[in-house]
Subunit: 364 residues, 4 copies
């Protein structure tokens, strides 16, 4: 009933506040005898790490992960894997100015309404810092997928819109994504995005983004009708990421305006293998994977912590102004890229194990 866990067969439970001593998670259901090291996890955390360019928060977080259980002599044992990151850089004082104030667009007011208590230290549990553990758990999920499928599916994400600026899909190049500070797949868009985000930052404003996550090498048949459809669980997983306001699969909202005969992906045979002639459905039909690339997009709202003052109220019922100084991402959507990848990996690992519970098969 509490909401800090995800998954049913492959599960993870996260804990920790942005300014407590540590954050961590327990990953459970992992098959035994999979090689797993701290470095396997760290490489993904490093992609999410702040402070790597002027376009993300300048907080310094080493984010060094430790494996505390569930791995023996380099292999998973089948018992729960506890992961922990100590919070090295806790500057609690950054937050005293807004101690009693409800920051607009943040969870301050709603947590107060729910719990009747105010942990003002940087958002506490509602901070995007929590997503570090999603990335850590997601790294374990990738190992599980590779182990069970016999190959590692390619689960990759990119920013396809920064503020109002999109990409040219014809210029998409996955190789480019890790070569610019925006995880942008279109090399021609980068310099415009840099100028745009520099302007946003200088104004003390912030920008939103749209991230696209693509999973390739996923077998057909994963997902559990009718409520735990693969796309339903992806929607939940993506929507649970901080600041996300929309999720779509395949052609998504555009499907509403497309005639039926154009939308349903036709099929032909390629030798003995049925193949689809399009992927409007984004790799899922009836809530089950179709074997085509799994395509999900999610929209991230602009960072709520901005320098431009905004009207608000405080815990005493006084009207106040809130301007957040300190080190914030002008666009939290950028660092959501490895988080989105992790969430797809986590959903797939869970469904892969659920699938073989019922069918006994490990589809490749």
């Amino acid at each position: 009933m509490p909401g800090n866990a995800f998954g049913q067969a492959f599960t993870f439970t996260t804990w920790g506040e942005s300014h407590g001593p540590a954050i961590g998670c327990v990953v459970d259901g992992v098959p035994p005898r999979i090689p797993l090291t701290q470095a396997d996890i760290q490489q993904h955390l490093d992609r999410r790490k702040p402070g790597q360019s002027r376009h993300t928060t300048q907080r310094r977080e080493a984010d060094a992960v430790r494996i505390l259980s569930g791995v023996f002599e380099g292999y998973t044992t089948g018992t729960p894997i506890a992961l922990m990151i100590e919070n090295a850089d806790q500057r609690g004082k950054d937050y005293t100015a807004i101690k009693d104030k409800f920051r607009p667009g943040h969870a301050d007011y709603t947590y107060w309404a729910k719990y009747g208590i105010r942990d003002h230290r940087g958002g506490g549990r509602a901070s995007a810092r929590e997503t570090a553990m999603r990335v850590a758990a997601g790294a374990v999920a990738r190992k599980v997928l590779a182990h069970v499928l016999g190959h590692e599916p390619a689960i990759r994400a990119a920013v396809v819109q920064l503020g109002p600026n999109g990409v040219d899909r014809a210029a998409w190049d996955w190789e480019q994504v890790d070569r610019n500070p925006f995880f942008c797949p279109d090399p021609n868009a980068v310099s415009a995005w840099e100028s745009f985000l520099d302007g946003v930052r200088k104004q003390g404003s912030s920008a939103g983004a749209v991230i696209e996550v693509v999973g390739e090498g996923i077998p057909a048949g994963l997902g559990e009708p009718v409520y735990d459809k693969i796309d339903a669980d992806l929607a939940k997983a993506m929507m649970s990421i901080n600041a996300v306001k929309g999720v779509e699969i395949g052609n998504g909202f555009a499907a509403a305006g497309t005639p039926g005969e154009d939308n349903a992906d036709a099929m032909r045979m390629d030798g003995d293998t049925p193949v689809f002639q399009g992927n409007n459905n984004g790799g899922t039909l009836g809530g089950l994977t179709s074997g085509q690339p799994l395509v999900a997009r999610f929209a991230v709202k602009p960072t709520s912590s901005i320098r431009i003052p905004r009207e608000s109220v405080d815990t005493h019922g006084e009207e106040v102004e809130v301007a957040t100084h300190g080190r914030h991402d002008p666009c939290v959507g950028i660092r959501a890229v490895p988080v989105g990848e992790a969430m797809m990996a986590l959903v797939l690992a869970d469904h892969l194990l659920r699938h073989r519970a019922q069918t006994g098969a490990s589809p490749a």
Copy 2:
């Protein structure tokens, strides 16, 4: 682990195929001593019922619901409530022509890939007929909300886009929604929509739709961070409806292009009560309800069963053409309106009970 149940504190489990003897569900966790009759449920089913205009399928389904347990002398007892609808009009023969064929855009191929078995009777479990039980369970959820909150929140939905045709939000009138065959809130749009859908039907094509669901009278603080956020569970609930390809909350995808200072809803005091100056966030912040109207939208793809022939393959690996005759909705999105309402009611009832487990409070 199987996916036929939804909810944790207020739960429902559905069963049944479109062409089996019956469909049903078990609703559990319902507080005792709530008045509940079959008529309370039937009125919602009647709004979803097919054959009410030329714009929906001409199948005749009485959809008469029976309460088989959990209610004694007109009141809930706290034990599981079993609901059942017999399938009166099972024309299995409608489907023999496509017995071995994978209908494009349908779940036929993926169910085959998952289960290795083909229940060709009208989609079997993947049929939209399953959504009747969502509406039935949703009617119980509304009773729970009214009982626990002390007032019945207004949970209403409307079609805001039919095919490529939107509505004029300035003309929005909830009163109109049940006065036209499209659940359209804009009376000026109706005649154009009629012409459009007549054309679609005559061509043997189909159209998609966007549905907006609005919940008013919802207290602040519902939702469970961080994975079971109220918006995450709404996203899952909506995405699990047949043919849905996208979900958004508040301003949704538009948030990505909005500057931070415009997007974060400011707050002021109205006497002793904090009030928001806007609702870009759609009634949720940090995954918890804010007390503002809860606003979710979902996109439904065009009906996959169309008369226009489409290329496909069959279970024997042969290339075939599929044209679906018989009685199909030209736009399944229309009848998704009461389903969307039901899913919001179900998510809220579940979270309301979960909320009081932890906090002991029944917020009003």
Copy 3:
């Protein structure tokens, strides 16, 4: 959160009151392509059916089960299997005399305390009639075990103590169990038990029993440490049966008085196979099956509905006497035999599917 479901990978949810229109269950997670008919289920229900001798209740219940979903052309489809039994013989008037009285030893008072409502019709949901659906679901579980393991394990139970009278274990003969009205494995004990129970019935008293359930042909390694140990789940399953007050595994309570060197079952090799030299542990070590026979025993208290008057109180706070006439089992433990078998089958089927989720293996 509601308590009407059992299992995680192989699950079932029951509904229905003893005197409502029907009782039923939804069995989910069943692998596809398993042959399943109503007769497969009915044969087990018939062993539990009342009225088969003078030693059980004289109520006439046909207990004819119907499969309403999840089976197509004789095979499971992987979708939820709904089972239903109509309550043919509802004599509600039998209960009017005790309408407001709390019957001693029954759940009347505690249901009243919990739900604040009194469904006086024969115990309502707390009636042992609910166990019919356990037996029905257990029949499906047996099919799953046989399908996944490639052989049907022998899951059998017997009454090993009736009132104060035990059996001679040296005379144990499984063949005898279905040849006497007590499911007694010791043919020499039967006539003494008949005299004993005739006396109990004539006095208007009742008797308890101890049932032993033995599962053979179970592979090693099933169970999930540390909370969902196989013995922990068996304990829960058995203790959840009406009127059960104790559960033990292997030598059970006797283990407390046994020296360590006598209790730990030694091992030797039999060719390439490790074999145990004893089974004090009842087929489980560390919460996982060991491959030896799984042995569980449970104690059933004497039927609480007796003709001998007992002191009690009623819903109005008045002191009353309660004597229950009507048709009751003098020893409910007897008909608990097929229920105990069913619960072991259900626990094993669930753990077998859970096991292959994590390990991918279907041990034989």
Copy 4:
């Protein structure tokens, strides 16, 4: 699906091996604004701590618990509470002699059968060390019970049988339990138990025990029929403790031999309050608490690690002898006393929160 978590509304998940760097747990669902300190938890851990007399293992474990999240300025926040104990005294080399051997009575063989991997360090996850986290979580559960009920129920346990030696129930004195090394409630039994256990230890043997747990001050109506009965969940909770082989409630197995008229606890009025005239049912009827003392007993088998050599086999299929030297409890049942108390507290806290989800009431 993995088995390392317990509870639904109040949950805890444990992780860690006996010889890894640390053990820990995540406690979730805790209501906000409850005062909680490390000392509140430590006091219960200290009762379980080894090395406090010659009758328990001489291992030195400081067992100092740290709260890593979920508590802010001395109060719970409603977010997950992470607890951790570092493993100070890891003498891995103690175990090299039995590295490949299956110790009789232990989980070595069954873990090998399940996971195909051997973590030989002191039982790894199957070690009784795991129970420290149950005690820690149980301390939080006690706080929750006190907070929700408005009073702290008395949840206490005692050893009522050591090896074959029982206690005189007429001499029961709860005050004595913490004044002798056996948690024995009968002061007259202590010296005989000392002699007995000294003898057992000198022979290199071990002894079992029976522990009785009693909960007083529990309101009526807790529990969820029909599978999550309070006694069913207690049975699972107790049986999941290492080395437990039997659980009974109230008069337990003795109920089977008691006539119905003697077994059903009669009721009378005490002013306005219904009172029971006996407690054969151990505080539960129909799976719901009755308001009487909740009485559970569990049997612990003798420690499997003994110096007397026993026949076994190893991972290479060789026949071997196993004699376990090193520091082991001659009777693990003794230190199970605080664990049993913790499990009852954990079950009650979970059911109390589940109860108020459905009914909205916090019964006192």
